[in-house]
Amino acid sequence: MYEGPVQDLIDELGRLPGVGPKSAQRIAFHLLAAEPADVTRLQEVLQKVKEGIQFCDVCGNVSEETTCRICRDPRRDLSVVCVVEEPKDVLAIERTREFKGRYHVLGGALDPLSGVGPDQLRIRELLSRIGTTLDGVDITEIIIATDPNTEGEATATYLMRMLKDFPGLTVTRLASGLPMGGDLEFADELTLGRALSGRRAM
C-alpha cells in the first residue's frame, strides 16, 4: 500500500477495463514522473470527454455536436443503414472503407441477465428512422451487424421480426465464417461449421 493520493490513483486506474494492479501502479508512477503540462492535458481531455461529448441525435454514435460526422457527411448513401451494438463497432466497420452508408448504434444487445430489453436499446429510434424520408431518399436496406454471440444473435432475430413488415425494405445480416489470410486447418470447428453451412455457389 502506498500513501494517500498515490494509492487512490492506483485504485482508480485499476478500476479501468484491462488494467490490472501491476499496470495501474506502472501508470501511476509514470504520471508522477511526467511533466506537469502533460498531466494537465490529460486532465483536460478527461474533463472534456465527460462534458463535451454527446450522442448523435440520428444514429446514437459518440459525437462532438448534435449530429455526428458520419450523419452530416453529404457523400454518404442515405438508403443503407448498418445496425451495430456499440460506437466502437462503427469504428471497426469504418476501417474497412467498404461501407458508404450510415449507422445506427443500439447501445448494447438484448441481455435479460443484465436487465437489458428492447426498451433499453435504441430500437424505437431505428423504427422511426426507417419510417421517415430524408432528402427524398428512403432507407431501403438495413444491415444487422450485431456480435455473433448469443445476445447479438437474439438481438438480430428480434430486429428481423420487427423489420420484416416494412414494405420495400431489405434486411441483411453480416456473414460469419473464415478469417481472410487464415489457414483452413487452424479454424476452430464452430467457425468452420458455420462457414460450411453458409457456403455459397461460385
Binding site: 438484448l110 435479460p112 441477465l113 430489453g117 444473435e153 437474439a154 428480434y158 421480426r161 487452424f186 476452430d188
Partner: protein
C-alpha cells in the same frame, strides 16, 4: 491409442512424478492417500480439460505452488504427440502441443481420449438426472469436440431466457403485461439449440443402449437385463423410435418445431415460476434393471455394475468411431465380487491400454497384473 509417458509437476499431492507407461494393462498399487488416483486424474484432465472429482481447478494445484503442469506423450496409430498443460487457478490454462503453444486449450481435446471409471461414478446410477445428462454430454463432446460450443451456447440461452421469464413474470403479476415479443425471440433460440442437443443425445442413446446392455450382461450375467432409455420433456410428443436402437435418426428440425409447440403450451406456467420447463436441460437418461428403475431399486453391487456398464458402453461407442481410448479403472475391483472382477478383467484386458489403481494387489485379477508400479511416499517405482 496409449499414453507413453506421463509427467506431472505440482499436481495434487505430487511435487514431481515421471512415469513411463506402455500399452496393455498397468497396475498402480499403493496404500490409501498416496496419490494413485491423482495420477490417473491428470491423464483424465488432459483428455477432457476437467477433473472427474472436482468442478474447479484450484484443488488440482499442490498447496503452496502457483501452478500445476501435466505433460503426456500420446501415441496414436504410430504417431506421437506431446501435450503439455499448465493449470493456473483463476486464469486460463495454457496448452502446448509438440512444444508449440496451442491457440486455445480446447485444441488439445481429442488428442487423448480416455474412459475413466471411478468410485464417483456411482452417482450416475444413484444421483440426480443432472449426473446422467453430464455423462451423455461429456460423451458427445468426446465424440465430436465441436459440440462443446453447442452445449455452452444452449446453457447461455437458457440462462438469458430464465432471467427474462423471471422479470416478465414479475411484471405480469404487477399488472404491467411484460414483453412477450422478446420472449419469442429467446424461445426460438432455445428451441434451435435445444433441438440440436436433443437430437445428438437421442442418437447417442440409440447407439449406446445395446452396448450398455451387453456390457452389463458381460459383467453381471446372473443379474436382470439392463436397459437405458432417454426421457424427454417432450414426453409423448417425442416421435416414435427416437432414441431407440434401430429406430430412425432424430431430426433436429422436427424437434425444434415440437419444442416450440411444447413451450407455447406451458408459457403461462413458465412465467409464473420463472423457469424454463421444456428442453434437454430437464431430460434424463433412465436406467432400468429388469422392469424397475435402477435408482432406488438396485442393490449396491448392481448399481456399481450398472455404472461400470455405462462407462464400458461409452468405451465401446468411442471405439466404434475408430479410436481406441485409454481405459482407466480407478479403485473398482475392491467393490466387486470375484466373478465380476474376473469378467471385468477379461473385458478390460482386450483394451489397447488399461490403467488400474488399487490399494491391495490381491484385488486385481491376474490378467491385468502384468506391469506393476508401487506408489508411496511421494514416489512411484516400477516393480515389474
Amino acid at each position: 491409442m496409449y499414453v507413453r509417458h506421463l509427467q506431472v509437476t505440482d499436481f495434487r499431492s505430487w511435487a514431481h512424478a515421471d512415469v513411463p507407461l506402455e500399452p496393455g494393462p498397468s497396475v498402480l498399487i499403493g496404500a490409501n492417500g498416496q496419490g494413485k488416483t491423482n495420477l490417473v486424474e491428470a491423464i483424465g484432465y488432459v483428455a477432457t480439460l476437467s477433473s472427474h472429482r472436482v468442478a474447479t481447478d484450484a484443488p488440482l494445484v499442490r498447496i503452496g505452488a502457483p501452478r500445476a503442469v501435466v505433460r503426456t506423450a500420446v501415441v496414436h496409430s504410430g504417431r506421437e504427440l506431446l501435450v503439455e498443460l499448465e493449470i493456473t487457478p483463476g486464469k486460463a490454462n495454457r496448452a502446448r502441443i509438440n512444444r508449440a503453444p496451442a491457440g486455445k486449450p480446447r485444441d488439445v481435446l481429442g488428442i487423448l481420449r480416455t474412459v475413466l471409471f471411478a468410485p464417483e461414478d456411482l452417482a450416475l446410477v444413484r444421483g440426480d438426472p443432472g449426473e446422467r445428462r453430464r455423462f451423455a454430454d461429456d460423451l458427445l463432446v468426446a465424440r465430436t469436440p465441436r459440440l462443446a460450443g453447442l452445449r455452452s451456447d444452449y446453457e447461455r440461452v437458457l440462462k438469458q431466457r430464465g432471467a427474462l421469464l423471471k422479470s416478465s413474470g414479475a411484471a405480469r403479476r404487477a399488472g404491467r403485461g411484460g414483453d412477450i415479443s422478446t420472449l419469442e425471440v429467446w424461445d426460438g433460440h432455445l428451441a434451435r439449440h435445444g433441438a440440436q442437443l436433443l437430437a445428438y443425445r437421442l442418437n447417442l442413446v440409440a447407439d449406446l443402449e445395446p452396448l450398455v446392455a451387453a456390457a452389463y450382461a458381460g459383467v453381471a450375467p446372473e443379474s436382470r437385463p439392463a436397459q437405458i432409455r432417454y426421457r424427454s420433456t417432450l414426453g409423448a410428443d417425442l416421435p416414435e423410435g427416437y432414441g431407440v436402437p434401430g429406430g430412425p435418426r432424430a431430426d433436429a428440425e422436427q424437434l425444434e418445431t415440437l419444442l416450440l409447440e411444447s413451450m407455447a403450451k406451458v408459457r403461462s406456467q413458465e412465467l409464473d415460476r420463472g423457469v424454463c420447463l421444456v428442453g434437454p436441460h430437464r431430460d434424463d437418461v433412465e436406467l432400468i434393471l429388469g422392469d424397475a428403475p435402477a435408482k432406488g431399486y438396485a442393490s449396491h453391487g448392481e448399481s456399481w455394475s450398472f455404472a461400470l456398464a455405462l462407462r464400458l458402453g461409452a468405451y465401446e461407442v468411442l471405439r466404434g468411431d475408430g479410436v481406441e481410448p485409454v481405459l482407466v479403472l480407478d479403485d473398482v475391483f475392491a467393490e466387486l465380487d470375484r466373478r465380476r472382477r474376473q469378467r471385468l478383467a477379461t473385458v478390460a484386458a482386450a483394451a489397447e491400454q488399461v490403467l488400474v489403481t488399487a490399494a491391495v494387489a490381491e484385488d486385481v485379477p491376474a490378467e491385468l497384473d502384468a506391469v506393476r508400479y508401487d506408489v508411496g511416499e511421494g514416489e512411484i517405482h516400477r516393480v515389474r
